[in-house]
Each structure stands twice: as structure tokens, then as C-alpha cells.
């Protein structure tokens, strides 16, 4: 399997996760409204909906890495000369990577503490399931970050070539 096809497959995989979560969220909220109007309110509807929202947010953030969709300020870096630009891109990538590696590790380590906690409206479900999104999405984020690293580097270098040509 080549690097490019793996990247495409990974993006497809994350997209399907987000689509499934989004559909589940929409269906769940609709069901909540319908049940409430028919007089049989679901107790767990809002808590599950907030959990789904958090899941969409964090899995979506991993997908956003692959799509270069995280909001940033690239203008300053683009104005730099080629050498510092590549250096800045590498430092920025390493900082992001370091944070998410830390987040994955800490997020995983608190799961065993949270196992004992239960959801308020669904006592048979552990909070750890809901919180598992943090370490999992952090790992997915790190993988995505590593996958786009060559692209970011190429962009930092490629623009350098264009700047030299025009100079």
C-alpha cells in the first residue's frame, strides 16, 4: 500500500466516522423531540446528545488536520524568507504533535480513574466510554499530523522556489 493511498483511505475512514456520528446526532435529537411531544420523554436524550457533539468535535478535528482546515494565521510565515519559513513550519508541526502526544497519554491514563464514574442519566454506562474520545482522537490527530507533514514541508519549500523565481 503506497503512502498516498493510505492517506486517502485514512481520510475516507475519518470522514465516515464523522458522517456516522453526525447522522446519529441528528437522528437522536429528532427522536428526542418526537418522544417529548408524544409525552414519553427520553431521560438520556440531552446527555447522549452532548456526548455525540463532543465526539463529532474531536473526530472532526482529526479529519480537519488532513484537510488543512484548522484555523491559523499563515500570512506571517509566508512573508518569511525560505529558510526561516521551513524552520517555522517544522517548529509549529512539532509543537502541535507534542501537545497531542501528551493529550493522548494523559487522556488514556485518566480513563481507568473514570471507569468507576457513571453517566447521570444512564447509570449502566461508564463515563470512561464517553471520555475515550480524547485519547483516541488525539492518536488519530497525531497520525493525521504525521501524514500531512510532507505536504506542509513541501508547501513551505515550494513557495520558496516560487519566491526565488520572481525575485
Amino acid at each position: 500500500m503506497t503512502f498516498r493511498s493510505f492517506r486517502r483511505g485514512y481520510e475516507r475512514f475519518l470522514e465516515w466516522i464523522c458522517i456516522a456520528l453526525m447522522a446519529a446526532l441528528a437522528a437522536e435529537v429528532t427522536a428526542g423531540v418526537v418522544f417529548r411531544y408524544s409525552g414519553h420523554s427520553l431521560v438520556w436524550y440531552d446527555e447522549v446528545a452532548t456526548i455525540l457533539l463532543a465526539w463529532v468535535t474531536f473526530y472532526g478535528s482529526a479529519l480537519a488536520v488532513l484537510k488543512h482546515a484548522h484555523m491559523g494565521v499563515p500570512e506571517i510565515v509566508r512573508m518569511l524568507p525560505p529558510g526561516p519559513r521551513v524552520a517555522a513550519a517544522v517548529v509549529a508541526q512539532l509543537c502541535t504533535l507534542a501537545f497531542f502526544v501528551l493529550l493522548a497519554w494523559v487522556g488514556y491514563s485518566i480513563l481507568e480513574i473514570l471507569v468507576a464514574d457513571r453517566l447521570v442519566s444512564l447509570p449502566q454506562v461508564s463515563v470512561a466510554y464517553a471520555n475515550s474520545v480524547i485519547p483516541i482522537s488525539a492518536v488519530l490527530f497525531v497520525v493525521g499530523q504525521l501524514l500531512v507533514f510532507p505536504e506542509v514541508l513541501r508547501e513551505a519549500r515550494g513557495e520558496a522556489r516560487r519566491a526565488e523565481e520572481s525575485a
Binding site: 452532548t50 487522556g107 480524547i134
Partner: protein, 224 residues
């Protein structure tokens, strides 16, 4: 002091193109490590998770979903066609259709704003094709194109500022118009209260008139 350092850290990270959300996280984690040590780290995933589980925010993805469904299934196009059929014969039909379709579905506002925003690049492209320099593009294309929004923002924002200042004076000041109104209300002195209210009305009215003058000056091509 540590707050200032955190702010500095965020700005530095954002400037080297770290995503803004991640820059906020990194700076906060650095501050936590510096002030409370490694033992405070378990708060990081908990705080991140807590921040995302907010029931009112569920509206955001659902609105985006609704807009996507409406755009891909052609609902929004049909809606605009429908409004066109209803009020399209009037003078200034574009604005009428715009308002009416918004009344039907406020969700379209996202794409409508995008349409307005998309107009300016096309104009800038044309100007560049005619050999305008970058300064000329900004002066003659971008600035005039954005003036209506700027003036409208001034009108709305200015009114909000007046309201904000007066409410703030009512709650926490020992002077000013808001304080006057609260004081007379506490003393059950109705004429005093109404004097304050009339003054506020006068100020906002003046603000409105002045900005309308300004709008006529800078955006004279816009009728109405």
C-alpha cells in the same frame, strides 16, 4: 505576570502558524506545568471534554447539516425561485426576494453572506485585468465594496455600544446617564426616570441621523 506570559506564548505560536485552538491548549498546558506541576495534567483532557459537551452548541452542527441538505437537494434554489415568483415583479426585486427568502428560511443567510463576499474577488479580478495596482485595487474596489457593510456595522454596533454603556452605568457606576435613571427609579421619581430615557432616545436618534448622513456621503450610489 503568568497571564501575560501565556498571552505572549499564544500570540507567538499563532504567528508561526500553529492552529489557534492548539496554540491556546499549548500555552495553557505550559502555564499549568509551570505553576502546579505534573500533577495538574489530568485536568487537561477533562477540561477539553467538558468544553465540548455543551447542549446549546449542538445547534451549530445541526444548522450546518440543515444548510448542506438544503443546498445539495436544491431546496434553497427552489425557495429562491418561489420568492422570485412571488415578489420578482416588484422594483428592486433582488432585495425583496432576498428578504423574503430569508424570512422563509433564515438558514440560507450563511450562503447569502458568502455570495456577497464572493462578489468582491470577482470585481478585484476585473480591476487587476485592467492593470490596477494593489493600492488602487484596495482603494477603488475593496473599500467601496465593503463600505455599506462598514456603515451598517457602525449603525448597529454604535447603538449597541450606547446601550452597553448605559446598562453598565446602571449597574456599576456612580455617575452618568444610566446612574441617573437608576437613582431616580430608586427614589420613585418618575419624571427624572423619563428625563433620562428621553435623553438616551435623543442620543441614539442623533447617532442614527449622523450615520445616515455619513452613509449618504460615502455610499451615495446606494438608493434607499
Amino acid at each position: 505576570m503568568i497571564g501575560f506570559l501565556v498571552l505572549l506564548c499564544v500570540v507567538a505560536l499563532v504567528l508561526i502558524n500553529v492552529p489557534i485552538a492548539v496554540a491556546l491548549c499549548i500555552a495553557s498546558v505550559a502555564a499549568m506545568l509551570a505553576t502546579q506541576g505534573v500533577a495538574s495534567l489530568p485536568n487537561v483532557p477533562l477540561a477539553l471534554y467538558q468544553g465540548a459537551t455543551s447542549f446549546p452548541l449542538i445547534a451549530i452542527p445541526l444548522f450546518i447539516l440543515a444548510a448542506a441538505i438544503m443546498n445539495t437537494s436544491g431546496i434553497s434554489h427552489r425557495l429562491i425561485d418561489f420568492c422570485q415568483a412571488l415578489v420578482g415583479w416588484m422594483r428592486g426585486a433582488l432585495a425583496q426576494v432576498n428578504v423574503l427568502s430569508h424570512m422563509f428560511f433564515a438558514e440560507i443567510s450563511g450562503s447569502a453572506v458568502a455570495g456577497v463576499a464572493a462578489l468582491s474577488p470577482a470585481l478585484a479580478e476585473t480591476a487587476r485585468a485592467f492593470g490596477a495596482t494593489r493600492a488602487q485595487q484596495i482603494l477603488y474596489v475593496s473599500l467601496p465594496a465593503s463600505l455599506p457593510s462598514v456603515v451598517a456595522a457602525l449603525r448597529l454596533g454604535g447603538a449597541l455600544v450606547i446601550v452597553g454603556v448605559i446598562v453598565a452605568q446602571m449597574l456599576g457606576a456612580a455617575d452618568g446617564l444610566g446612574y441617573l435613571i437608576t437613582r431616580h427609579r430608586t427614589l420613585l421619581n418618575s419624571p427624572g426616570v423619563y428625563a433620562g430615557i428621553v435623553l438616551v432616545l435623543g442620543i441614539t436618534g442623533m447617532h442614527e441621523i449622523l450615520l445616515r448622513r455619513l452613509e449618504q456621503k460615502v455610499a451615495a450610489y446606494r438608493q434607499s
